[in-house]
Symmetry: C2
Subunit: 269 residues, 2 copies
């Protein structure tokens, strides 16, 4: 294939011309949007997605017509309502949240602290819900935010109860630190995970910010496997952990029952 001016194409030009599949090109437009870039111009999109302006224009047009993107009067694109309606169908997202919400609200009422619900995706927690009052201060967690498993209370719960091999694979990787207290030693992490399984709750202190403490408990589904985790996040100073653990476990068990979990009988027959 001749390049510009009839010359042989260089390797770089060939590489640039090696096209992704059509689906991948369309999805790369959606990938351009993230929490740091929720609104993008067509030029931003073409640059972030690695597409020519012409291609970006065509794909953005198709996405806008479908409703996945919306264009405002300044010519800036953002994620569209139709995508949100579709996302409402995600069982691990909004559907789980709808079941959990009354229990999260009760936990908030009972403790007056920040309350979170999260699921695992690969080696991250993803926050599905976050309740706090208008006056709450401290840790800022966005709904939809991702954090590494080892650094949060909900993450410790999800890591401790993950599928076989997950814990070893995760502990063998590098553990990012966010404060001077973040657990980055695999041996310490394994001990913490064993403690989570033994006690039924995780207490994560000053791992993400050095002023916060998180108490988390597992949410089980119909089959009994852990599908999510609930936590409260409180200021570390004066945190009343023995008070918080039973309340968080109550919320987690309530949601689990609402999902169809049936606990084993308390007394052996």
């Amino acid at each position: 294939m001749p390049g510009l001016w009839g010359q042989r194409p260089t390797d770089a030009m060939l590489s640039a011309m090696a096209t992704r599949s059509a689906p991948d090109r369309l999805l790369s437009v959606l990938s351009a949007f993230d929490h740091g870039h929720p609104a993008l111009s067509l030029t931003d999109i073409s640059r972030r997605a690695g597409l020519t302006l012409t291609t970006a224009h065509r794909l953005v047009g198709a996405l806008t017509e479908w409703g996945a993107l919306e264009r405002d009067t300044d010519g800036v694109y953002h994620v569209g309502l139709r995508l949100w309606e579709l996302a409402a169908l995600a069982p691990r997202g909004l559907a789980l949240r709808q079941v959990a919400l009354p229990y999260l609200e009760d936990l908030y009422e009972a403790t007056h602290e920040n309350v979170q619900l999260a699921v695992r995706d690969g080696s991250d927690v993803v926050y599905i819900e976050w309740l706090s009052g208008r006056s709450a201060v401290g840790v800022h967690i966005r709904v939809g935010a991702r954090w590494p498993l080892h650094a949060t209370g909900v993450g410790l719960v999800l890591l401790a109860h993950g599928e076989p091999g997950l814990q070893e694979e995760y502990c063998a990787g590098s553990l990012a630190s966010f404060t001077p207290y973040t657990i980055t030693d695999p041996t310490r992490l394994r001990r913490a995970l064993a403690e989570v399984r033994r006690t039924g709750a995780a207490v994560s202190t000053r791992q993400v910010t050095d002023d916060a403490l998180s108490v988390a408990a597992p949410v089980r589904g119909r089959t009994g496997s852990v599908v999510a985790a609930v936590s409260v996040v409180v200021p570390e100073a004066d945190a009343q952990v023995p008070v918080l653990i039973p309340a968080v476990r109550m919320a987690a068990r309530g949601i689990s029952r609402a999902l169809g979990w049936q606990p084993r009988p308390a007394v052996a027959r």
Copy 2:
């Protein structure tokens, strides 16, 4: 182009071979999922999207790898977590909800009734949030559900404050009915909309189900235009409308201020 066995293609065969664009084919896979069909097999998807099994398999694979779809152990696909994370960026969806949530919670605490937040999309309302206690009965509105504008309290508010031409266009169309009381006469509808603008609230009685009443008020954004609506939905019998209107308006104004709305001064200077 010869058809099978060298014959000339019939109009039907030509029509079948006329392919949608690649983006439209991919989006048709996502379109296959809705509230009635949140989980689909590959065969379901190919049938609902009008694609061959081969094409559906390829597109579903690309979407699954990206995270827009997830496959469970039974080989059934549902909407994936990554799509939900993307949807969290939609300003008219989750972002609006995050700002509004404390006010919606306050309205729930103050009234102990079902509370909703909705936006307009074309000629529909789309419910962005819906709070109710565990024991609430009555109208069932799903988060993400769509309803026609004229049949709900939030819809009347959004229709009354829509862009120029919207009201006339809507009133000129056919108005679906859901109960014997649903307003289907354009003249009655126009009067109701004028009343909404005059009073600052909408009272919608027995329009969707014949046992419910809705009180709704407009939410304004930074520029002053109406961007959403808040409502409570209560049993029609014994509904205390004069009590509900100020509370709903308080919630709507609180959300508006949180969005940057600045009301005109109460006293002319």
